[in-house]
Amino acid sequence: MPTTLRIALLAGLLALLSNLAVIGFIYLRTHDEALSAMRQQVVEQDKVLTDVWRTGGQPALVDAIGDTIAYADPQAVVALFDSRGREQIGNVTRLSQPLSEGSRAVFVRVKNQPTPKRATVITHRLKTGQWLISGRMTGEGLAIRQTLESSLIVALALALLLGLACGAILAHYVGVRIGNIAAVANRISRHDISRRVPLSGTGDAFDRLGQQINAMLDRIGGLMEELRMLTDSLAHDLRSPVSRLRSAAHAAAETADPQEQEELLGSVIRQADGLMRILSAVLEISRSEALTGRKQFSWFDLGELTAELCEMYEPVAEEAGAAMAYDHPARPIPLYGHRQLLAQALSNLIENAVRYGSSGGEIRLDVRTNGKETRVEVADRGPGIPAEQRAQALRRFGRLDSSRSKEGAGLGLALAEAIAHLHDGELRLEDNEPGLRTALELPLRPAERETARAA
């Protein structure tokens, strides 16, 4: 059975059930003993009169009618009409409806009463062609209840119809909205990722689903684009070292001079090492992004790690003409993370600062925590990166043109960012006015927050 039909039936059924509940409730509250007792009396009175007529004929019936009016309770209505509908005997002069066989609720004109009265009557056509009318006047309350009851039956039928209509409309609506989403999914499975789910703009559940799907598609599209660019640039960036390696190897094979051969082979090894370095970095980035390193997380003091790296790079920075500055925080800054990878990320940032920012004279490291996140900064006073080029600098192989001439595959910042993501954090590139400030922002886990509070 198609889902849409099932939804239609389900909606119809639910509408019907809820209407039935309301109808049942009204029925239970209005239906009481008075009404059924009255009906009972009407039926009994009719039975008595017809029995009298059958056994005693018209004279007995006329007597019985007289008795009923005289002795029965004052609510009784009873009459004998001739075949043309004119009153012969009894206390009823007219009915609001034409005479016909059966029981019904009508208005009757009763003798000595100024206004028509509501009554429940049973009408019989006798063999003589006359009409026997027998029943009781129903008081105002009873009459309302009676109307209600018959309305409830109509309501029931209406509920059934409306329920089905509701179901059909709902199924159509859901079908259309889901159809839109399905159409997009269908296009995507045919490799067209550019389609998006149309939104109605009402912000309803379907719109939210559509928004989620669109956001997911944007992310997938971004990743695919990134992957494509990565493959392109990997191929591009590997081309030149591989061709250099090839020509050095070729020259080494050709030359007869042993010293030249040794130099060329040394160059072959250096080129191969460079290639390995690029591949390792690419591997490390994809590992970090796949979050495989999380099982190697442990507790360590980030302040201490930063101090170690500061000390490690201090001589290199000095040779490049810059001084490293770091105020070791008085308290430990505990962090739960991948110590080796964070050391690598931080060393990439420091290396970047040494390589491009040493002209500014100072490279400042800083670690601080605010109870929500821990931030490690590497700030230089070099030329910096203009705001519009920062996103480009974070891309794999995203070396800025201005730095193309310098060494490095342009993977350092991309790897640092991947490692930040491994820790649910971010890598920020900011203006140090002047210079570049790179920062790893690492959110604290609940346990770390507690430690930070306790400290």
């Binding site: 040394g266 090894i269 191969a272 390995m276 370095r277 591949l279 390792s280 591997l283 490390e284 590992r287 495989t292 390193g293 190697q296 170690e308 000390e311 490690m312 790079y313 001589p315 290199v316 040779e319 991948h338 080796q340 990878l341 050391a343 690598q344 060393s347 990439n348 290396e351 040494v354 390589r355 490095g408 350092g412």
Partner: protein
Amino acid sequence: MGRKILLVEDDAETAAYLAKGLTQEGHSVEQATNGQDGLFRATDGSFDLIILDRMLPALDGLSVLKALRAARIETPVLILSALASVGDRIEGLEHGSDDYLVKPFSFAELLARVNALLRRREARIDPADHRLTVGDLEIDPLSRTVKRSGKKLDLKPREYLLLEYFARNEGRVVTRTMLLEQVWDYHFDPGTNVIDVHVSRLRRKLDDGFEKPLLHTVRGAGYMLAA
């Protein structure tokens, strides 16, 4: 002095190249080409060193290592692996290997590490006087003081650690990666010449003003401390 080395490597070309080199260094090399065979041979405990490839047919390197350590066979193990990420290296070391070398590597790098591991084994068997001496250089690991020709050298803590590591591997080649791993405990490639700069600083304090240099550069391999 030749030592017994078990080489567990499934790649025939690499295995032949390593076996040839190590034999030329005077070691006797036994070979296994899969993990099961390797484990079987290693369990007799007669080897001085096991060189274990991480990806092996029949039983992978880490499983062999785990089985060995579970059987209380404490032969030093050097793992070779094409798995180069920092996480992979740490995992290898956590499984009880004594060293971890990423493919491709130079033979000089492998040899330096093999010698360091064999030497460590030696030191375990024959604990020497706690003082380390190399020529006229004298290191006291307890007080962390260094004297050369009786004159005290003023070293920074990291410079001291570097020198102590050199001294413990006296007369043997120490590579840059070994220094990074052993002295700094970092398992990534720092890219720039960080290690060289530290070594040259140490060298200035150690050798400047002395006629005979102690800290030597070994071309294509690394450094060596020798009298």
